[in-house]
Subunit: 164 residues, 2 copies
């Protein structure tokens, strides 16, 4: 459908009524409206934006947060285990942990039983940083509730946990 060709100049007054084409009508999303992936993607981006903004004070990204949480809850696990549970490549994890080590948040001890593995741990600083991160992340999470409504929030969390 052509963009509503404007009436053929019977009223030459005011070339265009509200010419501010600031939002040139509404743009049709077409079949994207029927694709869950599109909305899930937009939602995920929005969530991460808020998360990143709230944790910017302590400079912890969503991925770093998930890494710290898993290490904190599973002391001594290996990098392979960490990566496979979070869906992060071993190679990627190496550089991420290198950075967290340099920041003094984590450490890699030699595994007692397996010479290939590293036993991952949080340092003291890492534990306190994780505590702060959890507090900020909880605020972030709480901010989602009013946006979704408590019912929808519960529904979505339950649904996603079920399919993950």
């Amino acid at each position: 459908m052509p963009p509503a060709k404007r009436a053929t100049a019977t009223l030459p007054l005011r070339k265009t009524p509200q010419p501010k084409r600031v939002s040139p009508a509404v743009i049709d999303l077409g079949v994207l409206n029927e694709h869950l992936g599109y909305f899930v993607r937009r939602f995920q981006v929005a969530i991460f934006q808020d998360f990143i903004r709230r944790l910017s004070r302590i400079d912890i990204s969503p991925a770093q947060f998930s890494v710290l949480v898993i290490i904190g809850a599973n002391e001594g696990l290996s990098q392979s285990e960490l990566g496979s549970t979070l869906g992060i490549e071993r190679a990627r994890l190496v550089r991420m942990l290198h950075l967290l080590d340099k920041r003094g948040l984590t450490e890699r001890l030699p595994s007692s039983a397996d010479g290939r593995r590293h036993a991952l741990r949080l340092t003291r600083a890492g534990q306190t940083t994780l505590k702060q991160a959890k507090a900020l992340a909880a605020q972030h999470e709480a901010s989602l509730l009013p946006k979704l409504g408590p019912e929808r929030y519960r529904q979505m969390l339950d649904a996603l946990r079920a399919v993950s």
Copy 2:
């Protein structure tokens, strides 16, 4: 918690019952279990993986698909409009459209009214490619239904449309 120290050798038969430490017990997700963003992220990645796999035959990424759909449903719109509706930076869009142009799927006509704008259009080839893409995307979408269950699928789609 140490990894369930194995029974102190009363039965020397078979050094370890199921020694395949393939998944060394279950790893605790900790507070990630209470974070919607974590599951939304995992879900989005899984969805995109399936989408990419199904559309690999015609070499169309999720982002490219969304761009083609929007152009197809809103012929003549500008790059700025396209970018702002999809949440893609103008700069990023320039290179994406450059590629789609080179592939002969889209074209940038000079806007009649505004010398700065380009009026975006699908070429004939772009229209047929979009048709194929829509068909494959519909199959992808249909595959989500059994994984979620029809009720949860509807709930989630409605909820996300409402908050987007």
